[in-house]
């Protein structure tokens, strides 16, 4: 039994107006364990706190109950008070007799009676409290950024600038991501490469940044401040530190028929390649699926022409292990496959393309050197139809598309339409839309310019079918405002394909025990107040892996994620929450149920030796909670069938004592 002190606060008249505080203090005096009980005008005031400290010392109190306002208000205050008096801060319980009593009841007798019961419940709980000490863990002062698009680059640069080392892991041979493939950017129409490539160079040259390109994260262990990460460096068959990026090999390689993924397969590259001129690192990579030397041992041209001697056909995948304090996910997005939308004839005609393909077709570094030419015959298209929302905003159970709005399509389509009309005024441009969504600075103005200054035909309605007939694409569509079914013979049809998270995100989320929504976007810790943190401590989110985003939003989120990482890495030690789950190993039956319900992956099972009553030892499998990872939700405590799992600070016994006290 503890020696308990009870302190009833008047809160001016806030409590005392409806609750007879003296009666409460008197009634609680008789509760088991209570050795001291008093009331005071303002417990949270300096005088009130001093009174508590004195009482703790004078009466050798082992636990205190404050009957006052909500614990959400002053629990932290009174815990500090207790600590200052040498009492463990977790020996403090609050009975909420203001928000949940005096403020919601009008009758003094009723309020007083309820306040006494709430006080009794708190006394019953504190009787069972045990001193708790939060654990401390050191912080590895290095960050990992997974994904080297604009989100990853910006996050890495911001962290590096703050003085912490950062590693970027990128699966492609170069950083740059989707933004490197874009031509112009809305709403200012500055060229994507002009604003991105300097950042890529900065990242490549920064003393605090290491870039692991052509690499993947394959395993993550540990917890906030202490992640152990395995990174697979895929064999690129070119020594990264020796290659000068001169590009001679990429001109001499005899294997010319490799679909160029950077141009979305609209032209070819060689088997040894540098994705684009401004690649970082500017190093060649051999594609093992097409290299004749790797496939059949016959060729070796690149090795012969390489003056630096960088080619290494015998290279193997390498695995490196590194420690990190924080991990930022920046795995980005991809347009969805148009396979299930063949009413638009994407797979039946080369002249039906996606918006990203259109982006390459208008890019000076693209397959047509920036001339807008039909992929089928290289002719200038004179009628172009843009179809919005292809695969976005589908019903929830759709087998074809996504339920969400992809957010960026309205704006990039306005950009495409405007640029087309600007460069080729003889071209008719139709945009079929359901809604034009332009919430963003200067966005709607931009869209209006497309209509008013550039004469883009915006038509409210959807395209129903695209029929390739001869050299034309017969487009059948609704014009809802005119009440007509339109039939347009187009030369080019551009589909605004919905975007989805990169495929690598799902396995990565499993490794990180970071949660995802049903669309495989990473879930943020709080949708409004913690938008760049994952619910898993130490894992942060940057860019479109968290939801569809345009470039300005991505860059702001990238900076925000970096700020959170810097805040974490600045600390030498992390103080945990001591109210975490704890397994009684003697009771644990090793069933793994708790492991499965834990949303944080905080529970693992370990084999442990136990001494049996007959003096033999037995190896048993028992649950072990990582206190640095556990967030204290208690899901495991209820799932545990043997009753071994309990939650410190909210133990089964404590809650039952509260129930009993209330029901007495």
């Amino acid at each position: 039994m503890q020696r308990i002190g009870v302190f009833v606060c008047h809160c001016g008249t806030n409590i005392a107006g409806t609750v007879d505080v003296k009666a409460v203090a008197a009634a609680l005096k008789n509760e088991p364990g209570v050795v001291f009980s008093t009331d005071y005008q303002y417990m949270c005031s300096q005088a009130g706190q001093d009174m508590i400290k004195e009482a703790i010392a004078e009466h050798h109190l082992g636990g205190i109950v404050i009957c006052s306002c909500s614990p959400r208000m002053h629990e932290a205050t009174f815990r500090k008070t207790a600590a200052a008096a040498g009492l463990n801060p977790y020996m403090v319980e609050i009975a909420n007799i203001r928000e949940q009593c005096s403020w919601v009841h009008k009758d003094m007798a009723v309020g007083t009676e309820k306040a006494i019961i709430l006080g009794k419940a708190a006394v019953a709980k504190v009787n069972l409290n045990t001193p708790l000490t939060p654990g401390q863990s050191p912080v590895t002062k290095r960050a990992l950024v997974i994904g080297g698009g604009i989100a990853g680059i910006q996050t890495a640069l911001d962290i590096a600038e703050a003085g912490f080392p950062v590693d970027i892991v990128e699966t492609k041979p170069t950083i740059g991501g989707k933004m490197a493939q874009l031509d112009k950017t809305f709403p200012t129409l500055d060229c994507a490469a002009c604003i991105l490539t300097p950042k890529m160079v900065d990242a490549g040259q920064h003393e605090n940044i290491r870039i692991f390109s052509y690499s993947e994260v394959t395993a993550v262990k540990g917890f906030v401040g202490n992640f152990d990460v395995t990174i697979k460096r895929k064999a690129r068959y070119v020594k990264e530190d020796v290659c000068t990026g001169c590009g001679l090999c990429t001109e001499k390689c005899p294997q010319k028929k490799v679909p160029n993924e950077f141009n979305l397969g609209m032209d070819n590259r060689r088997a040894i390649y540098i994705p684009f001129a401004q690649a970082v690192p500017k190093v060649a990579t051999i594609d093992p699926d097409y290299c004749m030397m790797l496939k059949s041992g016959k060729c070796g041209v690149c090795s012969k022409v390489c003056t630096a001697g960088a080619i290494d056909y015998k290279a193997k995948d390498e695995y490196i292990e590194e420690k990190y304090g924080a991990i930022v996910v920046a795995t980005g997005f991809n347009p969805i496959s148009m396979e299930k939308f063949d009413e638009y004839a994407y797979s039946q005609s080369k002249d039906v393309i996606t918006s990203l393909e259109f982006e390459r077709l208008t890019n000076a570094a693209g397959p047509t050197q920036g001339k807008l030419l039909r992929p089928s015959d290289g002719e200038h298209p004179h009628t172009i139809v843009f179809v919005q929302c292809v695969g976005s905003r589908c019903e929830a159970c759709s087998e074809k598309g996504k339920e969400y709005c992809s957010k960026i399509c309205c704006m990039y389509t306005a950009k495409h339409a405007m640029l087309t009309r600007d460069k080729y005024p003889d071209t008719d441009v139709y945009v079929f839309y359901i809604d034009v969504r332009t919430p963003g600075k200067n966005f709607d103005e931009f869209y209006r310019r497309a209509v008013e200054e550039y004469g883009v035909h915006y038509i409210k309605g959807m395209v129903g079918k695209v029929s390739p007939e001869g050299k034309k694409l017969h487009v059948q569509a609704s014009d809802l405002l005119a009440g007509k079914q339109l039939h347009i013979d187009a030369d080019l049809v551009v589909l605004a394909a919905a975007i989805e998270p990169d495929r690598s995100a799902r396995p990565l989320a499993t490794m990180l025990t970071a949660s995802m929504d049903t669309n495989d976007f990473f879930t943020e810790a709080h949708p409004k107040l913690r938008p760049v943190e994952s619910p898993t401590a130490g894992v942060f989110l940057s860019g479109a892996c968290q939801g569809p985003k345009d470039i300005p939003e991505t860059v702001s989120q990238a900076g925000a994620a970096a700020a959170k990482v810097i805040g974490l890495l600045c600390k030498d030690h992390l103080t945990g929450n001591p109210c975490v789950a704890h397994a009684d190993e003697m009771m644990c039956n090793g069933c793994s149920t708790c492991e499965r319900v834990c949303p944080y992956g905080a529970i693992t099972y370990v084999e442990k030796e136990f001494r049996m009553p007959d003096r033999t030892t037995k190896l048993r499998r028992v649950a072990s909670v990582n206190e640095a990872v556990c967030q204290g939700c208690g899901a495991c405590t209820v799932a545990c069938m043997s009753g071994a799992m309990d939650l410190r600070g909210f133990m089964n016994r404590q809650i039952q004592a509260e129930v009993d006290a209330i029901c007495k």
């Binding site: 909500s70 614990p71 959400r72 909420n96 203001r98 928000e99 949940q100 009593c101 403020w103 919601v104 009841h105 009008k106 009758d107 009723v110 309020g111 009676e113 309820k114 019961i117 709430l118 419940a121 949660s515 879930t523 709080h526 949708p527 619910p535 109210c579 319900v597 949303p599 967030q631 204290g632 939700c633 208690g634 899901a635 405590t637 209820v638 799932a639 939650l647 909210f650 089964n652 809650i655 039952q656 509260e658 129930v659 009993d660 209330i662 029901c663 007495k664």
Partner: protein, 144 residues
């Protein structure tokens, strides 16, 4: 002879992040509800072991209500989904034992829904009061 009005005894479990804050907000806005409701704070609705609810009924509670974050808004991501499933099972078992469905309830109350909290409690108390005392599971040995 004095006739006392029947006052039901209601135990409310509220999760720390949404519903407890919602209850506080009801207080801040002075939205009254019957004093019969006594709130117990838990970190998450999924911390509520069915045992606690059975215990409350055994000790003479007339109704038990469990409040958590709205589905999808759980501070711990998935806690309230566990709650929803567990309580569906528990309530059907209670039903089998003869505890009326109306004596138990799961309600999602966010931190912004002070008004909903008060309205829910008013409604629930009236509902339980209409049923009268819970005698089915009550253990008289626990009565003083």
């Amino acid at each position: 002879m004095q006739v006392t009005e029947y006052k039901p005894l209601i135990v409310a479990f509220c999760c720390n992040w949404c519903s407890y804050a919602g209850a506080d907000l009801a207080g801040n806005n002075r939205l009254s509800y019957p004093a019969d409701v006594k709130i117990i704070r838990v970190p998450c609705s999924c911390r509520v072991n069915p045992m606690f609810i059975l215990r409350a009924f055994q000790r003479g509670a007339d109704g038990v209500i469990l409040c958590g974050c709205h589905p999808g808004d759980c501070h711990y991501t998935t806690g309230n989904y566990y709650t929803r499933r567990r309580m569906a099972l528990l309530f059907s078992m209670l039903d089998y034992l003869g505890i009326e469905r109306e004596r138990t309830r799961v309600e999602w109350v966010s931190a912004a829904e002070g008004a909903k909290f008060a309205a829910t409690m008013n409604d629930f108390v009236a509902q339980v009061a209409a049923l009268g005392e819970n005698k089915r599971l009550e253990d008289l040995r626990c009565k003083k």
